[in-house]
């Protein structure tokens, strides 16, 4: 036998093990679940943004053949345990907790608010039943804007709060804000708005709940980012012991922060299944998804910047108001100001930051996490830098290079606290400048303008704590991540992870890492996800999995290997330290002829032939705290052309230079980056969750809520920087959110540059053609 040369998978664009099933229609999504006796649910929803429910008459619906049950808010209140959203209960909320029932009882608080659920033999019949439910409402004045919500005269959505404040006003200062502003050459004021838009996974929310009356146990087939958080929600609100709730998840058609925990509808479906003793399915349609699943952003910022005449940004003073919508689910809307505050300095050597925040409640959909939930801090900062550069006649790259903290040892810290260890923003900016060749672009821009064509270039930078630098003390930046690993009797290395992938390719990337570390072919590793009875606690979100789960896969595979080698040493009558595993074989160093297959080791261990003095249980539990951690980050650049006649914006070129540490699978990383950028381009040019003055929702179809398609998104050029390893083993960093964080300011900066001949200044994020034309017209008329 020849010396074995191990193949190395980590760092290569290994083809995804998820793809064969996905490409052939064999993926198993929640709507593909079909159980014997399964019923279907549809919800009766409020046509009003704000109103009192006077009466609900379900008699005609109950009489419809095929309808099995109609449950009102009052019915469900009697079947469930009151309490906050499970995620809010888990993480805690910053402000007072509004009290509300699972489905509306006395009051509806947004258009689409569920009032009753119809359970029938088919979805068609359930929807027929919904049409027969008669609800009498009494209109209340809708609270549609944050400004009205802040007005003490606005009618409170939640009686127990008395006003519409989800998070009371607070102010924090870092550095000497007063003297920084007093000593500044100039102080510039802005108001910046970020519009409401949303996750829009191609698969909406949904579940199948199946109550087993004999076992008094619930099984929920879910589309969720965490089977355990969903289990907690179902167990808590239905009053079932958590071990009697099993949550299973198969393939999930995207989420981007939306599908966490158990939604009000999903809890109602679970309660209905228990009530009826039959499985019940609910999968939301696109109208429900757009109207009520959750929406994001909608923040407004009052910004003051303290600037020197040379372009040093010494201080920022920022006041944000977050519009959290109607039901402060998971506390995200009230929690997000804290992350914005921490991240606002970015990689810049800001000397002072004042930050104040308020979160309000309105008659709109709930503010949820959406890919980089705090991203508006990057939008504000990168917009402000360009606005200042314009005032001072500086180049956008120059003003950034001037203000970015140099990489020093010890590292500089953000004024809000965290050290900027290993941050490569300068390298990324310089590389972008090389790739784009700004002088050549400026010449082309000038020629184009002479022909009445408006080209523009924009850059923006970001950093993301994915996981972030290791803090002082015993704990990692993002807590810890667990994994169980086992060598089966067939020689398969099985990883049980609480990650719940919904596009992130974990079944491939974690197998790459474990295969390398353990020493088996990629095909000999399985990654088990999506069963709360089997996998450890976990959550896919917050760009945590690359470091945290990649890291625990590496350390866990190392631990399992040590255990396997101890057992193999006994089998092979060798010392464990003399044994190696590679390419699926265990062998004595220097003696390839000694090799036995890992599967043989697994088979022998499972044979039960060994006494108590031999540990043949080839299984380990591993945890990882993120090690030394580190920042992800990068610089993006867009070149756009704006048609001043039609207002249409074409993204001609897009360059991303990113640093997410060591790449596990470059094709997967680049897919994450491009997908995030596409969402950012969509957010600026197309997407808006629109409400009328009466609180009516006006973008409930894909003909109103416009999604970017193939012709809107250019080829995206990506370069990776891998400059600063911090940890001995684990330097993979999260990359899921960066594209969506930095693309909006990149594109808006480019549009403003294109429109500079008109003198346009942009203080908002949503720039569809009609708005571009308004901006040009307003600038022309000197407004």
């Amino acid at each position: 036998m020849a010396e074995i040369v191990a193949e190395r998978y980590t760092g290569a664009s290994i083809k995804r093990s998820e793809d064969p099933r996905i490409l052939t229609g064999a993926g198993r999504y929640v709507d593909d679940i079909k159980l014997p006796g399964m019923l279907h649910a549809a919800f009766v929803r409020s046509p009003l943004a704000h109103g009192n429910v006077l009466s609900v008459d379900v008699s005609a619906a109950r009489a419809l053949p095929g309808v099995v049950a109609v449950l009102t808010g009052a019915d469900l209140e009697a079947m469930t345990v009151p309490g906050p959203d499970p995620l809010m209960a888990l993480f805690g909320a910053a402000g007072p907790t509004p009290e509300f029932t699972l489905l509306a009882t006395d009051k509806v608080r947004l258009m689409g608010d569920p009032v009753a659920v119809v359970i029938a033999e088919s979805r068609y019949l359930a929807e027929d039943g919904c049409e027969l439910v008669e609800v009498d409402y009494d209109d209340l004045p809708p609270v549609v804007t944050a400004a009205f919500a802040l007005d003490p005269s606005s009618p409170p959505l939640f009686a127990n709060l008395g006003d519409n404040i989800a998070r009371p006003h607070s102010r924090n200062e870092f550095g000497d804000v007063g003297s920084t502003f007093a000593n500044a050459d100039r102080v510039i004021d802005f108001h910046i708005d970020v519009h409401r838009h949303q996750n829009v996974p191609m698969e909406g929310r949904g579940c199948v709940a199946s109550w087993d009356a004999d076992l008094a146990a619930m099984t929920v087939y879910a589309a969720t980012q965490s089977v355990h958080i969903t289990r907690t929600g179902v167990a808590t609100r239905l009053g079932i012991e958590p071990d009697k709730v099993r949550v299973l998840a198969g393939d999930i058609g995207g989420s981007f922060g939306l599908k966490i925990g158990a939604s009000r509808e999903e809890l109602a479906v679970a309660a209905a299944s228990r009530h009826l003793g039959r499985p019940v399915k609910w999968v939301e349609d696109r109208g429900e998804n757009l109207m009520v699943s959750g929406q994001a952003r909608e923040e407004s910022f009052d910004v003051r910047a303290a600037v020197s005449n040379d372009g040093d940004l010494a201080g920022l003073d920022v006041a944000v108001v977050v519009d959290t919508g109607a039901y402060p689910g998971m506390g995200m809307g009230a929690m997000v100001p804290d992350i914005m505050q921490a991240m606002l300095p970015g990689p810049y050597k800001l000397a002072a930051l004042g930050f104040e925040s308020t979160a309000v409640i309105t008659n709109k959909a709930t503010y949820v996490a959406y890919r980089g939930p705090w991203a508006s801090e990057t939008f504000v900062r990168e917009r402000v830098l360009d606005l200042i550069a314009k005032d001072l006649g500086l180049d956008p790259v120059e003003i950034r290079l001037r203000n970015i903290a140099a990489r020093t040892d010890p590292p500089a810290s953000m004024i809000t606290g965290r050290p900027l260890v290993g941050v490569t923003t300068v390298e990324a900016l310089e590389r972008v400048a090389q790739l784009v060749d700004f002088p050549a672009f400026r010449r082309r821009q000038a020629q184009a303008r002479a022909q009445g064509r408006y080209l523009g270039v924009g850059v923006a930078t970001f950093i993301e704590a994915a996981p972030g630098p290791r803090p002082e003390g015993p704990d990692g930046a993002l807590g810890s991540e667990s994994m169980r690993l086992r060598l089966t009797e067939d020689g398969i290395v099985v990883l049980f992870t609480g990650q719940m992938p919904h596009g992130q390719s974990h079944q491939t990337t974690l197998a790459q890492i474990a295969a390398d570390e353990f020493g088996v072919p990629f095909e000999q590793v399985r990654v088990v996800v999506g069963d709360s009875d089997v996998v450890p606690f976990g959550l896919t979100g917050g760009s945590r999995s690359a470091t945290m789960t990649g890291g625990v896969a590496l350390h866990g595979a190392r631990d399992l290997k040590a255990k396997v080698l101890d057992f193999a040493a006994y089998l092979m009558e060798a010392r464990a330290q003399d044994l190696l595993i590679s390419d699926g074989n265990v062998w004595v160093r220097g003696d390839p002829a000694s090799a036995i297959a890992v599967s043989e080791v697994g088979r022998r261990a499972a044979s039960g032939q060994f006494g108590a003095d031999v540990d043949a249980a080839l299984e380990v539990e591993a945890t990882f705290d993120g090690g030394e951690g580190g920042w992800s980050g990068g610089t993006h650049c867009a070149i756009v052309e704006v048609d001043a006649e039609t207002g249409l914006v074409k993204v001609e070129r897009y360059v991303a230079v990113e640093d997410c540490g060591a790449l596990i699978n470059p094709a997967v990383v680049e897919g994450q980056i491009r997908g995030g950028i596409a969402q950012g381009i969509g957010a600026v040019l197309l997407e808006k969750s629109a409400y009328g003055e009466d609180g009516s929702f006006q973008s409930a179809t894909f003909m109103d809520y416009l999604m970017p398609t193939t012709c809107d998104i250019p080829r995206i050029e990506i370069e990776h920087l891998e400059t600063v390893p911090l940890d001995a083993d684990v330097n993979f960093r999260g990359v899921g959110e960066g594209g969506m964080i930095v693309a909006p300011p990149t594109v808006v900066n480019a549009i403003e540059d294109a429109l500079s001949p008109f003198g346009v200044r942009i203080y908002e994020q949503h720039l569809p053609p009609a708005r571009i034309l308004e901006l040009i017209a307003a600038a022309d008329s000197g407004q």
């Binding site: 664009s13 083809k15 995804r16 998820e18 793809d19 064969p20 099933r21 996905i22 490409l23 052939t24 229609g25 064999a26 993926g27 198993r28 999504y29 709507d31 593909d32 079909k34 068609y124 829009v200 996974p201 191609m202 698969e203 393939d251 999930i252 058609g253 995207g254 981007f256 349609d285 696109r286 919904h502 596009g503 992130q504 390719s505 094709a667 997967v668 897919g671 491009r674 997908g675 950028i677 596409a678 969402q679 179809t701 894909f702 003909m703 999604m707 398609t709 193939t710 012709c711 998104i713 080829r715 995206i716």
Partner: protein, 156 residues
């Protein structure tokens, strides 16, 4: 409920769907062909695309009874048993997809397009797929997969 007969993925299928039942729901619920996905049910996202008598159609906008007598190919019918067809293989090689929910629609739409336009270039492919929505990828990897399949087909 009307009785209908149609051919789906080469096999003759009979059913008695309600007149109002969409072709998508008939395929998914009555024939258990759950590879055809529903992403919007109003004809915009393209996830439910199937080939009907040689043309790519949105099965959410058609009634099952309208497909009576037709020849329908769904995502399940594109690959040889247990394997991948050439386009699916090229998409695997190109890391075309992430969550996979839009995938059947893209694969079916691109299959129909390539069979009529084997020499298509990038811009033509982009336009041909501009009626399908993917939220994960930014499209480039999908376009690359279709381009790779076309290139391999020409070399064959």
């Amino acid at each position: 409920m009307p009785d209908i007969t149609l051919r789906v993925n080469g096999a003759t299928c009979a059913g008695s769907p309600e007149a109002r039942k969409t072709l998508a729901d008939f395929l998914r619920e009555d024939l258990d062909l759950t590879g055809t996905h529903l992403g919007c049910e109003h004809g915009v996202c393209g996830a439910c695309t199937v080939i009907l008598d040689g043309r790519a159609v949105r099965s959410c906008l058609m009634l099952a009874v309208q497909a009576a007598g037709s020849e329908v190919t769904t995502i399940e019918g594109l690959a040889p048993d247990g394997g991948l067809g050439p386009l699916q293989q090229a998409m695997w090689d190109s890391h075309s997809f992430q969550c996979g929910f839009c995938t059947p629609g893209f694969v079916v739409q691109a299959t129909a397009f390539l069979s009529d336009h084997p020499d298509a270039g990038e811009q033509q492919i982009r336009e041909a797929l501009s009626g399908n929505i993917c939220r994960c990828t930014g499209y480039q990897s999908i376009i690359d997969g279709v381009l790779l399949a076309a290139e391999r087909n020409r070399e064959r």
